[in-house]
């Protein structure tokens, strides 16, 4: 038998009908994550065509994108301010009731960002195919799942048939050797990777992240890396499951139990690329050379090391357009640039370890005057765990706001936005124009860098602030 990549193994196990010259493969989907923004029109199609949800037991539904983070709004003490968002919430409640889907709704302690709760509940498992009407579905690839974002039409396809029509993508191995230095996080690593291969470098590929620096990462760090695969154009990013993966999953609500657990682990151990397996493309990165990274432009490939300068590129109108939007000049150092907003959260960096990292920087310090800092846990469970550790107190004592979970200022749909012209150091994943509010200027960075900026009131090297 020929040597296979991790991707090929998962793909082949899920072909209901293999692809041919005329038709794409019919690919079986093990887990379908559903949220309020990209699903209403899909349920409308089911209704119009008089179709049922084929496997409601394979659907995990929650609300996160347009939901409020203010506790009074979340728990119904006051109406949700954004009326259209309130309608979406109601619509998802209705759709889940009507089609027999369990909803982790606003009143549930299991609610959160869909890519945070899937792993947290143990629904995300090695070797599964996982889809969601959200491009950051790539996050779940951290467990050795084949996980990718789909559009609303395809959400309808999966609801009705539990399958998708897919052409087989190419494979890209990103080999990360060496060891990350202190103060350099998984977020810095993935920003550096995107800077290296470019925002369309992964288009048409599924990435497999591998090598010693990847193996050394915790599950939460692996999720941060895989999460931003789409920012390099790749629909999916995968990491082979190992002892770290199994230890994370054991005992979680949807993880196999007892004998089934042992069988699952035995099966999962086979999910790694065979020696000699061929990738369509291979890229190597030395982790030990990396610094904390920060974005300066209007896409996630426009990044520099924190000690770097805004690149000076002559005769490039698109580069000039980006710098004009950002209010930055070529040649200007990043460190020292005043900022007004700090956002800690999102499916990229809204998990417990991210909050711990930020709290470690903030402990005993104050958010600079004139800076508004928002800390939004990735899920209600993350929120509870953080509160048990007293992290909420560290944040609020420092002058930051502590909210209920959701996508919040990563996408700015719920009213959590930065104002026109404001600089927001954000642990989220996209610095596109207007992403965090019309005219807002996003600087993507790690939770440590974001917390350091909050204290300094300007872009700062987090390594000066980290506890020893």
């Amino acid at each position: 038998m020929s040597a296979k990549t991790l991707f090929e193994k998962v793909w082949e196990q899920h072909q209901v009908v293999p692809e041919s010259a005329d038709t794409p493969a019919v690919l079986y989907i093990d887990l379908h994550l559903v949220h309020e923004v990209t699903s209403p029109q899909a349920f409308s199609v089911l209704r119009a065509e008089n179709l049922k949800v084929r496997r409601p037991d394979r659907v995990l539904a929650t609300m996160d994108h347009s939901t409020p983070t203010d506790p009074d709004e979340v728990f119904g003490r006051v109406p949700i301010k954004v009326e259209s968002a309130a309608r979406q919430v109601k619509e998802l409640e209705k759709n889940c009731r009507e089609f027999g889907i369990e909803l982790h709704g606003l009143d549930r302690d299991t609610r959160g960002i869909v890519h945070v709760i899937g792993p947290e509940l143990g629904a995300t498992q090695p070797g599964k195919t996982i889809v969601c009407g959200d491009s950051h579905t790539a996050t779940h690839g951290a467990f050795g799942a084949l996980a990718f974002g789909i559009g609303t039409t395809e959400v309808g396809h999966v609801l009705a048939t539990q399958c998708l029509l897919q052409r087989r993508p190419k494979t890209l191995a990103i080999e990360v050797t060496g060891k990350l230095r202190p103060g350099v996080t998984a977020k810095d690593l993935i920003l550096a990777i995107i800077g290296e291969i470019g925002v369309s470098g992964g288009t048409g590929y599924v990435i497999e992240y591998r090598g010693s620096a990847i193996e050394a990462l915790s599950m939460e760090e692996r999720m941060t890396v895989c999460n931003m695969s789409i920012e390099a154009g790749a629909r999916a990013g995968m990491i082979a499951p190992d002892e770290t993966t199994f230890a994370y999953l054991k005992g979680r609500r949807f993880a196999p139990q007892g004998k089934a657990w042992d069988e699952a682990v035995a099966r999962w151990r086979e999910l790694k690329s065979d020696p000699g397996a061929k990738f369509d493309r291979v890229v190597s990165i030395d982790a030990s050379k990396l610094e904390p990274m920060i974005s300066y432009g209007t896409h996630p490939g426009m990044v520099v090391p924190i000690s770097g300068k805004v690149p000076d590129v002559a005769n490039d109108p698109v580069h000039a357009k980006a710098l004009n939007y950002m209010g930055l000049n070529g040649g200007e150092p990043m460190v020292g640039k005043p900022i007004q907003v700090v956002f800690i959260g999102s499916c990229t960096n809204g998990r417990l370890s991210d909050l711990e990292l930020a709290a470690g920087v903030l402990k005993g310090r104050k958010v600079a005057s004139g800076v508004r800092m928002l800390v939004v846990p990735g899920s209600q469970q993350v929120k509870r765990e953080a509160e048990r550790l007293g992290l909420d107190k560290i944040f609020t004592d420092a002058g930051a706001q502590w909210r209920e979970s959701g996508c919040s200022m990563c996408i700015g749909m719920n009213g959590d936005t930065a104002a026109r012209g404001e600089y927001a150091v954000s642990t989220s994943n996209r610095n596109f124009e207007g992403r965090q509010g019309a005219g807002a200027r996003t600087l993507l960075a790690s939770p440590a860098t974001a917390a350091a900026a909050a204290i300094a009131g300007k872009i700062a090297d987090p390594r000066a602030y980290l506890p020893h």
């Binding site: 209901v16 974002g149 998708l164 019309a438």
Partner: protein
């Protein structure tokens, strides 16, 4: 969906690379529960200023582009999110095809499912289109050929099954539903 064989229209050129879905349709407009009416919000932050006034220097606000159904844009069009609202907005605005040298995966998939043609062409053809805004082009789905007013032609790649669906005006869902026996066999054979 209406069958699509050929599209003939003048082009609008937005000479920007990496146009992401947040530009095509900003997230604050995604709280809708229908597919309709998003055209007025397409490229909203490039078309309107902070007070909602029309930015007269943006190409889509110029009178000469009225009726142009083909959008020509820089490399890596449609990157970013999976929101299908992006092709819905472009179609509702009046575009029927997008031409670039590279189109992001999810956006391309979403476009094919809605009858917005994602056309990837070579650098030379793209360069000509970028330099000749308003050119009348013809896109033939049957022969997968783009024809310029100079009579120069360029072949474009398009996934075969999606192409057949577009040409016949049928939805892929029908095909998937017909796979029910194979799906049942697959589910029955899975041991975990």
């Amino acid at each position: 969906m209406q069958p699509i064989r050929t599209i003939e229209s003048r082009t609008v050129v937005i000479p920007v690379t990496n146009i992401d879905t947040d530009q095509i349709i900003p997230a604050r407009f995604l709280t809708t529960t229908t597919r309709e009416g998003l055209g007025k919000q397409a490229f909203a932050d490039w078309r309107y200023d902070a007070n909602g006034a029309v930015k007269s220097d943006f190409i889509l606000n110029k009178p000469e582009v009225a009726g142009c159904g083909v959008l020509v844009a820089g490399r890596n069009f449609g990157c970013g999110s999976s929101r299908e609202h992006a092709p819905w907005a472009l179609l509702d605005y009046g575009f029927r095809a997008v031409i670039s040298t590279e189109i992001a995966d999810i956006f391309r998939n979403n476009s094919l499912k809605n009858g917005l043609l994602p056309i990837v062409v070579d650098d030379q053809t793209h360069g000509w289109l970028m330099n000749n805004p308003g050119a009348n082009v013809k896109i033939d789905l049957e022969t997968t050929t783009l024809t310029l007013p100079t009579c120069a032609t360029a072949k474009f790649p398009i996934e075969g099954f999606a192409r057949v669906c577009l040409m016949n005006g049928v939805d892929e869902l029908g095909f998937l539903l017909q796979q029910a026996p194979a799906i049942e066999r697959y589910e029955a054979a899975r041991t975990y």
